[in-house]
Amino acid sequence: MNHVILFIGLFMSLLMVISLYRAIFGPTVLDRMIGANAIGSKTVVLLIIIGFGYRRVDMFVDIALAYALLNFIAVLAASRYFQKRKDLYDELS
């Protein structure tokens, strides 16, 4: 069973690398925000899987809960900030 957990964690790290492509090369700022949000929501699950790897789930669950809160607040604040920009199209060309 531990091998299954390890495989799931490694595969999810690979998926985070795929999402990182959009966070780096996205044509606009909001595309980069989508990539960062997808990586954050995968990290919450990955933290609990790391907790099973170390056999300290009771500690890592609290870290995952704090990370979920922080991710939500960060995305909300960044989107409120970037909606005032009117020059998003200049980055496309």
């Binding site: 957990i5 799931i8 949000n37 997808a38 609990i48 939500f72 409120r80």
Partner: protein, 107 residues
């Protein structure tokens, strides 16, 4: 028990894979939000239920509390993830991004 947990974890993995491929391959900003918003939420649901069941191997009060916390994280993700995606859509509409239509260049 192990079979159920493995099945739930691989279901979540399939949903996460679809979300990641959708974020890469869709042609514009608004259509990219669709896999990012829905598939990640559903993948989190399956994975959290699987991990909470896996945590109940040694049944005690402590592990029951930990499983309850994992379910609590899942409830919070179910509320917060669509809200965050809606905020990003709102930012795109207010900034004046136009949706992609057929024949345009992929961006």
């Amino acid at each position: 028990m192990d079979i159920v947990v493995t099945l739930l974890l691989f279901c979540g993995l399939i949903f996460f894979t679809g979300g990641a491929i959708g974020i890469i391959r869709f042609p514009d900003f608004y259509s990219r939000l669709h896999p990012a918003g829905k598939l990640d939420t559903m993948g989190s649901l399956f994975m959290m239920i699987g991990l909470a069941l896996f945590n109940l191997h040694h049944l005690s009060l402590g592990s029951l509390l930990t499983s309850l916390k994992i379910i609590l994280i899942m409830v919070f993700v179910f509320i917060s993830s669509p809200t965050a995606v809606h905020a990003i859509v709102d930012a795109g509409v207010n900034a004046g991004l136009e949706p992609w239509s057929k024949g345009d260049k992929r961006r």
